[in-house]
Symmetry: D2
């Protein structure tokens, strides 16, 4: 009988092959007994198997009874990216089971494309290429009427979690003034990152570029509406990187169509939008088909986090890489989980 710790893996909609590199997966299989299963099949596992499980990798629906049966459980590691209301988190907190999520892997790819989108908007990189291919490009200074530099400009970041912090890091060389709005953090923490804490109004009216990185919560649906876009500086760029629910999408599209601001978005209320959705032909918009975070290399970093944090917990230490669910906020999230990766 194996002496290796038991891991129950129910990673759907991910697969182990997706979240581990081949090398990392081999190490994972070497260190642990892995029982790969699905949410539906969990209930049917024998009680002693459930009792022996040290870790659950995945985010299956869990009943109170099922969690109670996993008497040796130390941690649940969500590899989808969002916490949803499908397990008894309070019981986990009481029992000292760590509830973890590996979503930090998306910060770097999303921040990079976000910065690329901002540069493309301010310098019309995509537009200029399309013009050139159609044969009506405009040369030199004449083609730069609305061009702006990011360097030494004012950049607003809404939400200062992994993604907002990564964006701030990527901006390090630009010497920009970074304004941040994050109601979940005290000003002092923002100051410690070298950014200025501001109200949402001050951010909207002050920033030449606005990056929206905040998750959708019960409190911020349609936070960015027509009034918000009207408050932005003329010619400013609005880059939506988190979820469509945080904006009034029609108002955003109209603000771009009017030419008042420039908009880039990776997310849409319905994905894909209909073939005749006006967003597909709106000028001053840069459209991306929910591709910002979905890089093979990002998913594979999830496995590294799993390996590192399980190794720490095996040694009786707390996990250090994955983000932990918080009692206070785990139920506030409103992001729809992805149905497929």
């Amino acid at each position: 009988m194996s002496e290796r710790p038991l891991v129950i893996a129910a990673p759907h909609p991910r697969t182990l092959e997706m979240i581990f590199t081949p090398d990392a997966l081999a190490r994972f299989r070497e260190r642990y007994d892995i029982l790969e299963t699905t949410a539906g099949a969990l209930e049917a596992l024998p009680p002693d198997t459930l009792a022996r499980a040290r870790y659950l990798v995945g985010q299956p629906d869990l009943s109170d009874a099922l969690l109670a049966a996993m008497t040796g459980l130390r941690a649940i590691v969500n590899v989808e990216g969002n916490f949803t209301d499908n397990m008894p988190y309070e019981r986990c907190f009481e029992r000292g089971i760590h509830v973890l999520v590996t979503s930090s892997v998306f910060a770097e790819p999303v921040a990079e494309i976000g910065l690329g989108m901002a540069l493309s908007l301010h310098r019309q990189i995509a537009q200029a290429d399309a013009d050139f291919r159609r044969g009506d490009e405009v040369w030199g200074l004449d083609g730069n009427g609305s061009a702006q530099l990011l360097s030494s400009s004012r950049v607003g970041i809404v939400g200062f979690g992994d993604l907002g912090r990564c964006l701030n890091r990527l901006l390090a060389g630009f010497r920009a003034k970074v304004l941040v709005h994050d109601p979940w953090l005290p000003d002092s923490i923002l100051a410690d990152h070298g950014v200025e804490a501001v109200s949402l109004d001050a951010l909207l009216s002050g920033a030449d570029t606005v990056f929206v990185t905040a998750s959708v919560t019960a409190d911020n649906q349609h936070l960015f509406d027509a009034d918000a876009f009207a408050a932005m500086k003329p010619g400013a760029a609005f880059v939506l990187l988190s979820r469509a629910g945080i904006v009034d999408f029609d108002a955003m599209r109209e603000a771009a169509a009017s030419g008042r601001i420039k908009v880039a978005t990776d997310v849409f209320p319905d994905e894909p939008p209909a073939a005749d959705d006006p967003v597909r032909s709106t000028p001053n918009m840069l459209l991306s088909a929910h591709r910002a975070g979905a890089l093979t290399v990002a998913f594979q970093r999830m496995g590294d986090i799993v390996l590192d944090d399980l190794a720490l917990m095996d040694r009786g230490l707390p996990p250090a890489r994955a983000r932990r669910a918080e009692r206070e906020t785990v139920r506030r999230m409103r992001s729809k989980p992805v149905s497929k990766s």
Copy 2:
């Protein structure tokens, strides 16, 4: 009679209104007697006027005789951006006349668009927007087959003058390994900037992204030929930011067309290319109509440099902001000056 120093201004193809903000121009006119003229009219100026000129702002053709007549001259400030073989530089050096150029103003706008182009190539930002508008966008992971992160990748910079250094600065937050090839600088200076000095071969075969920032000189025309592109890593990005003469343009276009590498270029052998030039329909290319540096805000920074350096020289101090022509290299440059801005 005025006691203000005399500046002869012959800024063509720029104008004073272009290289100064209105405020800066007012200050310039307040501090100096400004005689605005053209290359052709210079010869006709009275000898005492020429003798009284302390500074020449511009890059007109200058004969030995004309320079000799400007007996009080302290500096010539080129506001076009390139030194050309149109004045007796040796005489200037002998006489201790500073020969200056304000081209550093272009570094930031060109570096920003270069970084934006690299991000666009690696994440297909422009391509994905065009696909979306045509209705055949690919969603999520499926759309990211060739996507690469700049973070923690290897970035090559060819040429480490103002532009290369600015690019390196913008990359600060990306934690990339920066490889630099610049035969005019010792390795120690590159190390001091935190980059690694490498041969051109090592740069081409090692970098995931290659930025070409080197000016064209007598020595490097067509430096990047078919062999160079073949030596690059598959899927790498090549971003041409300086002058078309440094590449074999057809070979570059073919390397992109073949899908082996991705290419972005701001410059072309003939500008504009013909309507039926194949470059206009080459895939894996990002096309920009010589727009990288030509921002109003960049030109206006020239005036700030002029004001700062003239103020220093007025006080008997050396200029500190504009770059100086070097005896050894001023005649090596082969960039065609712009005929209009």
Copy 3:
């Protein structure tokens, strides 16, 4: 009857006047009902008072019964700096009571003096001043026989908590190679901070300067013994910033006395050491009377943390500034708490 939340304050050995600036204390008193008390008097509080307490600021001995009586408690905030085995932490974790400590305030003052000590050792700043005052200073190059630069050298940091990270930040401008040993953290987290994870052996034999910032735990008492000092590079500096228990103090003193290494220490096994303790006359040592963290400004930052985190918890959000006790490690600490500040 007050509607302000009730805070029980039992900050001994601190006082509220010590951990708050006058302004911050005024704000604290305005926002909360403050009941100042002592560990001994806690038991005597009426049950409804205990039940109404939302926060406990301080680190008094707490029995199970007392904690149970505080039914509305959201957080205990330790303002001494170390967790000791004087309260039922497990009950807190079960109930979701945050157990917090404000010790991060000491990181900056301790890191600064640590860096100052390292520079003083490598450049004999203190020694040279003493020589000068005695009239036997050695001038110029002759006085720099054992001098070393920190720039571009190899710096080892043992323990990478608040203090180790702050030291690494202060070193940013030195371009040093920073080697870190911290068995509680995966290599990936160290790499993310730009430092290299190494074994303790590799750190000792490779570093020109060793900073010890790790807390004393059950596992690391006398971690640095005669063998460890013998493994260090000749002429290297050893700077002890945490607790004396982590070193074999006699061995450390002898390593300095022998001239093989240079040593600075802020802590001693018995404080103060006896008047005739040989440490008081050991050469190649820099002695500091447990003064590294004890700055008025540091203590006062504790109050800012208290205010920020209580404000977050008042709004139903998790605390964000104070460090949390971890189930796994809270009982491993062996630091003696201070008896007075």
Copy 4:
């Protein structure tokens, strides 16, 4: 007959063995014909030898005739560190002979000890060690009455050449507000380094720490007098790193003796001061016997600069590492050269 270029070496008061590592010296001897000589013997060299010399490494007295005889000279490389009025610089400029100095090697060692001195003053590191050895140390908070943090404080730097810039770099991790006064540089260059250009008055009254790095010139002798010290913040630190001539030394000593400010100095009007000079017993002072720059490793970096820049000039390129003498300022310097290293 050798085809290697001829270097005349007259490095007194340095020696080649002092300014080159053994490896670098071997490379130097391999690449060049080296003729080691002294100022006095130069005149006696045969005309064809003088005519063949491509480089002069050293700072010997040179007459017009001697310079004229060196018809092939490309550069004079000063390895003492200061330009003095002992050669016809104007002739060099006319002929396009580079006049170079390798003094940048001192920036790092001087900046490091300067930072160490500032930390020692603000935290009484040297004083506390002396107290401890005498048995009257003061423990903990009681011993920190006048302690100040450098982090987030205001730091003033007077003079922003190699040394001032290096200090600013070392301060990068401290998040200090850096105020700079340098009348030879426009504000824009200081802003580009992330520091704030201020008047000397604003610097003195605003800074918690003042570093003096400016060379002595005709204009700034005794720039820091009793009024200047009176204008400083009480408890501020004054760190003198350049030359004693820039301060009224008695006034500085008295300002320290009064306890109003803290002072560190590496330089003295007469070196060494007399045995009974009151400076030797002044409290609140940190004394260093002109040891700040005189590190073996610093001198040896001179040789690396020589090798790099000669290699560039051999290839017809301008030197890039050594600082160049400027026509406008070379004669303004008033530093006494060192008589011995």
